[in-house]
Symmetry: C2
Subunit: 141 residues, 2 copies
DNA sequence: GCTTGCTCCTCTAGCGACTAGAGGATGTAG
DNA sequence: CTACATCCTCTAGTCGCTAGAGGAGCAAGC
């Protein structure tokens, strides 16, 4: 990984698009980097790590506010464990909830794919299984 | 399930909020229902099933356009279900990918919680694991 | 030096899929 | 007959980007 990168290179390295990087700066997720004489952003290795972190967390479905919390932890590594622990536990609960929900959805999707292509949509279980009233009506979020 | 329902009752039955039901009508996902003398929407059992279908599909992560396709297939039941099946398969792949990712994160979060009481967050691997370059950089969407 | 073409800058506007609120009409219970 | 819930339409806001306009700067070839 290089020591300094312009925004385009940072985008290439981290997989976060340049406009999104600027957006993250705007909303305060990424600190404003130093600029060159020509007013161009210059990212350090640390910035790139932070960006990679944000990207992976976003891919996992964490909201920006949750990521902000995790980054705050990262920025203050000597914080008392009590607080860190509480935040981690909250995130873990969220992750477990997501896994449970996704696992249920996976089962449903697997059943839906049992359609074998004989005789058209009437025998296709994709639609049937989604319209099925026997599915729970409880809140999931 | 009752034969006719006002929008509030439809919301209660299907779990889709009233403004969202109107929104679905607006974007053409739900056909405009008949109105009473006082201009109030009146939903049939069939509308409620369609709404339940939409809700389930949204919860499964289907985009509105994908749902529109599924509903079109449903409305023309003699079409082959290859398309619907393909959509479901794509969803299943994504769901499995997310489960795998979240499971990995869950392990790291568990470790983080397990490390409490010994010198703070520095020993925790959550942030490290999310910033880890060894994670793939390929497109996910 | 000069031109070509890429990258970068800021700014505003748009997207999907809702959600919230204003302001007003109607339906129902005591 | 008066509350109060429910409904109506409408506009505007939310989140997390994404696209485009319009302009400046840099590196490389001639």
């Amino acid at each position: 990984m290089k020591k300094h990168a312009a925004i385009g290179e940072a985008a290439r390295i981290t997989g976060v698009k340049a406009p999104t990087i600027r957006y993250y700066e705007q909303i305060g997720l990424l600190p404003p980097p130093p600029r060159t004489d020509a007013n161009r952003r210059h990212y350090s290795t640390n910035d790139l790590r932070r960006l990679s972190f944000i990207r992976h967390a976003r891919e996992l479905g964490f909201e920006v506010e949750a990521i902000r919390t995790l980054l705050t932890l990262q920025d203050a590594p000597d914080q008392p464990c009590k607080e860190a622990d509480a935040i981690a536990r909250a995130r873990l609960a969220e992750v477990e909830h997501r896994i449970a929900r996704l696992t249920a959805l996976k089962v449903e999707l697997s059943h839906m794919i049992a359609c074998d292509g004989h005789g058209g949509i009437r025998q296709c279980r994709v639609i049937e299984s989604l319209a099925d009233e026997s599915h729970d009506h409880g809140r999931l979020d």
